[in-house]
């Protein structure tokens, strides 16, 4: 891709994001977008990031950071040398590498860190970075416990540092456009969101001879992860809260290790209902042995449905009366006949299979935009408004869901959360 072409696609992407989030209602619902999309170019110099965790996600992030105009990777850190080696190709030659994040923090020369380590490390890495005077961009979910999520928020506040969590859907033009259409009332009041993340694989990675299962497959162990809840559901619970403009009041759920009885500790099937004020619900399922319904959030209102992953909107319009259409055609050709009228009939209640309408827009660079926004926030020393609250509540919701399943009890939304 030439630089000019890249600039063009970048501009189109940003324009679409801005278009989707423009206007009073949307500006209130997505206050972070304008600041992120308006990020200035490097000017005085790029924001220098030290990446902790150069695994699968860390390396994807590094590639996205390279696309930004205002950030650069200035140091790499991973405890597992082969992953450091894999990351090297994406950064400037001679970029310092560390196996201990504290050593990286001690060397100075960084403005912020990017944390893409296993979940149970996020809190400690955040504390250490902030205590070293650095801003933090950390992957979702925030932390392994609700208390640690709150402590991260608190630490950012007391240290006066930016804490941004990687929920890229908040920068995704299709999601922004979906929200805009919800706010415009196009699908009526949203009363339910049915979300799923269904896959058909073990979610298990091969373990190289020089490592061990707990390190490589940290997602499958309770010490390091809440499994499907923190790794997958947290994205969709964020979308649920965002589109319902609320946090849940209560959650009930059931989890099981139902198919992959391979010694894993986390559920391979989860099913939960999150209740919201006014009787609204997010109904969530995730499982690992059937991929038919994939990853989707079905945002349901009395006038329509939006499915952002498919990028489609469906209107809840009853079928047109064919007889009346024929009557119109008859009249046009001067032909009069009896109009058969269906009467009080109903169609079998099968799923609607009409293709719906596209929500539009194909080029996505939301992860890049997250970092341009972060870079801008670091420069200004001021977090993008609204983001951290969304992330905090999404993490709390996913961990509360885990508790509901473990205890087999309804869990009410905690009253002890910190204020963001």
């Amino acid at each position: 891709m030439t630089d000019k072409f890249f600039d063009l696609t970048r501009r189109t992407f940003l324009d679409r994001v801005l278009m989707a989030s423009a206007g009073g209602v949307m500006a209130t619902a997505t206050p972070w977008v304008a600041m992120a999309a308006g990020a200035e170019t490097a000017g005085a110099g790029k924001v220098r990031l030290g990446v902790i965790g150069t695994g699968d996600r860390g390396r994807a992030l590094i590639q996205n950071i390279a696309k930004t105009r205002n950030c650069m990777v200035a140091a790499l850190c991973d405890t597992y040398a082969p992953n450091l080696a894999k990351a090297r190709q994406w950064v400037a030659a001679g970029t310092p590498e560390f196996s201990d994040h504290r050593a990286m923090l001690d060397t100075r020369g960084l403005d912020a860190v990017v944390i893409a380590t296993p979940l149970h490390r996020h809190a400690q890495h955040t504390f250490d970075a902030m205590d070293a005077g650095l801003h933090v961009w950390c992957e979702k979910a925030m932390a392994r416990t609700i208390a640690d999520c709150g402590a991260m928020v608190e630490r950012a506040r007391t240290r006066g540092k930016v804490l941004q969590i990687g929920h890229q859907r908040m920068f995704h033009p299709t999601y922004l456009n979906a929200l805009r259409r919800v706010k415009a009332g196009e699908i009526g009041p949203v009363t339910q969101i049915r979300a799923s993340w269904h896959r058909n694989n073990a979610w298990r990675r091969p373990v190289p001879a020089d490592s061990d299962d707990r390190r490589i497959n940290w997602r499958l162990y309770r010490e390091s992860s809440a499994g499907l809840m923190t790794e997958l559901a947290t994205h969709q619970l964020q979308v649920g809260n965002w589109f319902l403009d609320a946090v849940p009041t209560r959650v009930i759920g059931s989890g099981s290790i139902c198919f992959w009885k391979d010694g894993r500790e986390v559920y391979d099937h989860v099913a939960l209902i999150y209740e919201y004020a006014g009787g609204r619900k997010v109904i969530y399922t995730s499982l690992l042995n059937n991929a038919r319904y994939g990853c989707e959030e079905q945002v349901q209102g009395s006038k329509g449905t939006i499915e952002p992953e498919l990028g489609r909107i469906y209107q809840e319009v009853p079928h047109r009366a064919l007889a009346l259409q024929r009557m119109q055609a008859d009249v046009k050709r001067g032909h009069k006949r009896t109009i058969p009228i269906g009467g009080a009939t109903w169609f079998p209640e099968l799923p609607v299979t009409t293709p719906g309408e596209s929500l539009g827009w194909g080029e996505y660079d939301e992860t890049m935009l997250q970092f341009e926004g972060f870079g801008e926030a670091v420069r200004k020393g001021k977090a993008l408004p609204g983001l951290l609250q969304q992330a905090y509540y999404a993490s709390v919701a996913s961990l509360l869901g885990e508790q509901a399943m473990d205890k087999g009890e309804a869990m009410t939304w905690p009253t002890s959360l910190v204020t963001v």
């Binding site: 047109r320 009366a321 032909h335 009069k336 009467g343 009080a344």
Partner: protein, 277 residues
């Protein structure tokens, strides 16, 4: 063949169904939009699915308070229902009472003062009445806009026509027999009238639980498969009468039925088509 009148149509979702407005000739350019607005105003006033004058009234009735009706559409709707009590043999009743012990007669409705109250907790759901009533208001809006020929439908169970068919003469409708797709229950000729069809059974579906209708004062829903068809100058009246016919016992149905404009059909598989000829 005479010159064809200018035509136009508008389809939208309202009153929980698809509304279609077809106009032929005459009248203001924005007549259909005015009719749409009239229907939406009725929907806004009578809906129980979002905050409305009706939900506010239900809130008050549920807590045994006297509700003051400030919405002129809601007040007018209540007056029409009250006025139709005798004509429907008191069988059309928009009240919902979870215990099935009280109905419309328990309401104290003062139309002059525009207040309503009830000693027992009760709620109103205008259901099908709302569709007929909305069509009445839309017909009025179209006529005021100078439209002399139109067909309006709210779902396929509520129809209204203005004037004669665009090609002259009556509008003729055939109501199919839901048991046999090719057979017809009845053919009806309409001019400046409304048609309402109520049923407890639908085409190809033996699922009475989907259509249970409550007979006022009776503890159990009507599940016998039947269809009632009523033609009337007023869509609201047609709806109230067709609902009354559906829930009526045989003696009452005989009194309501007139064989030409108000009728009920037994739709059990082996039944002869009409209960009353």
């Amino acid at each position: 063949m005479r010159a064809l009148p200018a035509t136009g149509e508008l389809c939208f979702s309202a009153m929980g169904t698809r509304v279609e407005l077809h106009r032929f000739g005459g009248g203001a350019a924005d007549a259909l939009a005015q009719a749409e607005r009239a229907i939406e105003m009725v929907d806004d006033a009578l809906t129980i699915h979002r905050p409305s004058s009706t939900t506010a009234l239900n809130e008050a009735l549920r807590s045994r308070q006297t509700a003051t009706i400030t919405d002129p559409i809601l007040l007018d709707a209540l007056i029409r229902i009250d006025d139709a009590r005798a004509a429907t043999l008191e069988l059309f009743d928009p009240t919902i009472d979870a215990r099935h012990t009280v109905g419309w007669e328990a309401l104290r409705f003062d139309r002059q003062a525009a207040t309503i109250s009830c000693a027992d907790p009760i709620a109103l759901d205008f259901g099908g009445f709302g569709k007929g009533y909305a069509l009445d208001r839309a017909v009025l809006a179209l006529q005021e806009a100078g439209v002399g020929c139109a067909l309006l439908s709210a779902g396929e169970s509520s129809i209204a026509v203005i004037g004669e068919h665009p090609l002259g003469g009556t509008w003729s409708f055939a109501i199919p027999d839901p048991r046999q797709p090719e057979a017809t229950l009845v053919e009806l000729e309409l001019v400046d009238e409304a048609l309402s069809i109520s049923a407890t059974i639908g085409a190809g579906s033996a699922a009475p639980e989907r259509a249970a209708m409550l007979r006022p004062g009776a503890p159990s829903p009507v599940t016998a498969p039947r269809t009632a068809i009523v033609v009337d100058r007023s869509g609201a009246m047609a709806e109230m009468l067709s609902t009354a016919l559906i829930v009526a016992d045989d003696a009452a149905a005989l009194r309501l039925h007139d064989g030409a404009r108000r009728m009920r059909f037994d739709l059990t598989p082996a039944a002869p088509t009409r209960i009353f000829v």
